[in-house]
């Protein structure tokens, strides 16, 4: 607009945004940004150590500690692996899910959190349909809160288990990670980036270890401003071109439950972004294929790719238990000058 250009543009000194008080508890894991690179390295090392530890010894680490799983959304992998991980360390777990609790009667997140705390929960694992809910819960309870996925925002333990899977394939000899560990590695994240908490956590985590993240998808599901989320993030809308540059291809599900009236032509989408055996062979025959699940066979990827030799999808699931053991150990030992 002409009149905009004719106005002299100045910039003014204004009050800075306040410094975040979060996380209140050193054991909390609300965002991947809560972790330093050293912290990530420690968690990865502890995941391996805990995985290899004698189950009877491991059982004592959090013996009889109380962990609540508070789930406002359905989940298979995340919920089960958090539960198995907590139990593997000897903790008692209690599951509260929104559809079979007083949440249905209108109890607020704050009150639910305070109730769990009064019941003796020492840490709360929260899956919530609204972005930011874990911050609210942590502020209310001041207990370690583990973000197991909040709305469209973050899913930090997923990014950690994705990282572990990537390292197992591309850096099998590495035992400690640092800012250069993934230098030269390009990870393409494909599909419904807009609604994906997995994409956000990965794009904020992987570049800090040296990886380049390429985001790929149609404009509707991948707005241009996504590339401004942090350093090391670029957009490549041509899936084939992105694959040719990638050592890792991470496929995402279209989140029908979050489309909010958005019209999407699925046939057109599949033509542009479905990962098929042919595409993989032509453009990225050596790339590792990841998917956070649940997968929709025949939509974002074909059954052949999901079950094929390049797929590490089930390995990701397995890694979830190891990573979550390390995260829960950190949650409940951090206050005593714990390991992370």
């Amino acid at each position: 607009m002409n009149q905009l250009a004719s106005v002299p543009r100045r910039s003014f000194t204004t009050p800075p945004a306040p410094v975040s008080p979060f996380p209140y508890h050193p054991g909390s894991l609300l965002s991947v940004l809560d972790l330093t690179v050293e912290g990530v390295s420690r968690l990865l090392a502890r995941a391996t150590a805990l995985e290899n530890e004698n189950p009877l010894e491991r059982d004592r680490i959090l013996a009889k500690r109380r962990i609540a799983l508070l789930f406002y959304e359905s989940s298979t992998r995340t919920r089960t692996s958090f539960e198995l991980a907590s139990k593997a360390l000897g903790a008692d777990t209690a599951l509260v899910s929104s559809l079979s609790s007083s949440i249905e009667k209108g109890e607020s997140l704050k009150d639910t959190g305070l109730t769990l705390r009064a019941l003796g929960a020492e840490a709360i694992i929260l899956r919530h349909n609204y972005s930011g809910a874990p911050w609210l819960l942590e502020e209310a309870t001041r207990r370690p809160v583990i973000n197991a996925g909040d709305g469209m925002h973050e899913h930090p333990t997923q990014a950690l288990l994705d990282l572990r899977t990537i390292l197992q394939h591309l850096r099998p000899a590495v035992t400690e990670v640092g800012p250069e560990t993934l230098a030269g590695v390009t990870v393409t994240i494909v599909g419904d980036i807009l609604h994906s908490r997995v994409a956000r956590s990965n794009m904020l985590l992987l570049p800090r270890l040296g990886a380049r993240v390429l985001l790929c998808g149609p404009e509707k599901l991948l707005p241009e401003l996504a590339a401004r989320s942090g350093p090391g993030i670029e957009i490549e809308r041509d899936f084939d071109a992105a694959m040719r540059q990638s050592q890792v291809v991470m496929m995402l599900r279209i989140q029908a439950e979050r489309l909010a009236g958005m019209q999407l032509d699925l046939e057109e989408y599949k033509a542009g972004y479905q990962l098929t055996g042919q595409r993989l062979a032509a453009h990225a025959p050596k790339a590792v294929v990841l998917h956070p699940g649940p997968i929709i066979r025949g939509l974002e990827l074909t059954a052949g790719v999901a079950d094929g030799p390049q797929s590490a999808i089930l390995q990701q699931v397995t890694n979830g238990v190891a990573i979550r053991m390390a995260v829960m150990e950190r949650a409940l030992t951090a206050e005593n000058g714990g390991r992370a």
Partner: protein, 435 residues
């Protein structure tokens, strides 16, 4: 009513072009006499306020507040909201109609002004522009005006339909009322809870694009231009984007009667202040980008912005202590507007004191057609604020006179402490004496 004298203060009355030491005598709720400082004759029974070293100015006028009555007294009442207004230096507030029920009738308009409401300062209702603020049938502007409404608006619920907006502008022009539009094309903001931009993407929140505001402002201005002969007055509430402000600027150059207000939070804060889902930074229109904020400051300094208005929007604590997406929009603002305006507009960005005060009183009085207010000329209402322009203080939300405490400015440094607020000759607020 006893007479009241305010002596020795620096009288700043931008409309009258006065900025010098004066004594003021108030009688029967009106300004009776203004003399050079020290020249006022003392008479028995006259209460005297010593304003030496203080600024004496027309009481502030907030043309955009939510007092929540009728119907939402748990958030705020007319009594508590106006008590907060008085503490903030305000002597008049214009109350938006999004009450329960919506103020779309002369009965509610009158009810809000009854003495039983316990108002500390004058309340001027803004009535709904359409029945139930549903955006369809317009209300009866003539009878609302005679009941005391000073403007019409469906604040919070923009008038989207072209035909309704046209009809509302024409009807408002016929009776000489201002039509205030909350400019938001809600078709572009479904499910959104903050400004659309890199911050909303990163936080995983759906965003409201700047175009949702600017496109509606542009549509409204086109309509005002088409109806030029009827002289409608369109006032854009809480303008928040550079693009919408540019449209207002252009409309004014074209000689149209289009005005706008800016809220302190929009000229001070940006989307970055949402931080990690701070619901006290959730409002509508949302906190925008730094470029938008800069354009608003520029607009205030160069005069295209007509008024500072708070959009005082009280909510109960439990309503804000929920998930960001579910929390209601808005913050309180009556006790912080003067302190923030003086600290930033005046001290930091060098807007002359008279201009700051004009944006806070004379100009909103003119926009709403409040006769005898926004000035202290002899004969006008004795609506006065007396404040120490040099005193720094820290705002504590817990000490607010409002029922609500939802503000992002808790603990912020302020400049300019209100000593007395006088509403129609009566002391509505007096600061605790310095210990």
């Amino acid at each position: 009513m006893t007479a009241l004298a305010i002596c020795g203060g620096r009288l700043i009355d931008p409309t009258a072009g006065i900025d010098e030491p004066k004594d003021i005598l108030i009688n029967d709720g009106r300004v009776a006499e203004i003399t050079a400082a020290g020249k006022l004759k003392r008479t028995n029974g006259t209460e005297m306020l010593d304003a030496t070293g203080l600024v004496v100015a027309p009481g502030l006028i907030d043309m955009h507040v939510h007092l929540r009555e009728p119907g939402q007294g748990y958030k705020e009442t007319i009594a508590t909201g106006t008590a907060a207004a008085a503490a903030g230096g305000y002597t008049s507030v214009a109350a938006m109609p999004n009450t329960t029920p919506v103020n779309d009738s002369p009965e509610i308009t009158r009810w809000m002004q009854q003495p039983e409401r316990g108002a500390s300062v004058r309340v001027f209702p803004i009535a709904a522009a359409t029945r139930g603020s549903k955006g369809d049938a317009i209300t009866d502007y003539a009878s609302l005006k005679s009941a005391g409404a000073v403007a019409v608006s469906d604040d919070g619920r923009p008038i989207l339909k072209d035909s309704t907006m046209h009809e509302a502008l024409a009807a408002a022009a016929r009776v000489g009322l201002t039509l205030i539009q909350h400019a938001e094309d809600t078709r572009l903001t479904q499910g959104a809870s903050m400004n659309l931009g890199p911050v909303s993407f990163k936080l995983g929140l759906r965003g409201m694009p700047a175009e949702a505001e600017s496109s509606l402002v542009e549509r409204d201005i086109r309509m005002v231009a088409e109806m030029r002969d009827a002289h409608p007055h369109l006032h854009v509430a809480h303008i928040s984007t550079a693009a919408a402000l540019a449209a207002v600027r252009q409309a004014r150059r074209n000689g149209l009667r289009v005005t706008c207000e800016v809220a302190p939070h929009h000229f001070l804060l940006t989307e970055e202040h949402v931080g990690l889902y701070n619901t006290h930074a959730k409002m509508n229109p949302p906190l925008r980008s730094a470029a938008d904020r800069d354009a608003l400051i520029e607009g205030i300094l160069d005069g295209v912005v007509d008024a500072i208005a708070t959009d005082h929007a009280p909510h109960a604590q439990h309503e804000k202590e929920i998930e960001f997406d579910r929390a209601p929009c808005g913050i309180i603002g009556l006790e912080t507007a003067l302190g923030l305006s003086l600290r930033w507009l005046h001290q930091e960005w060098k807007l002359p004191l008279g201009r700051v005060l004009s944006l806070l009183s004379a100009q909103p009085a003119a926009l709403l057609g409040l006769k005898g207010r926004g000035t202290l000329a002899v004969g006008s209402f004795a609506d006065v604020v007396v404040f120490d322009v040099k005193q720094k203080w820290t705002y504590r939300a817990a000490e607010s006179r409002s029922k609500a405490k939802n503000t992002p400015f808790d603990g912020w440094p302020m400049l300019g402490k209100v000593c007395w607020t006088i509403s129609e000759g009566r002391i509505a607020y007096a600061a605790a004496p310095k210990s």
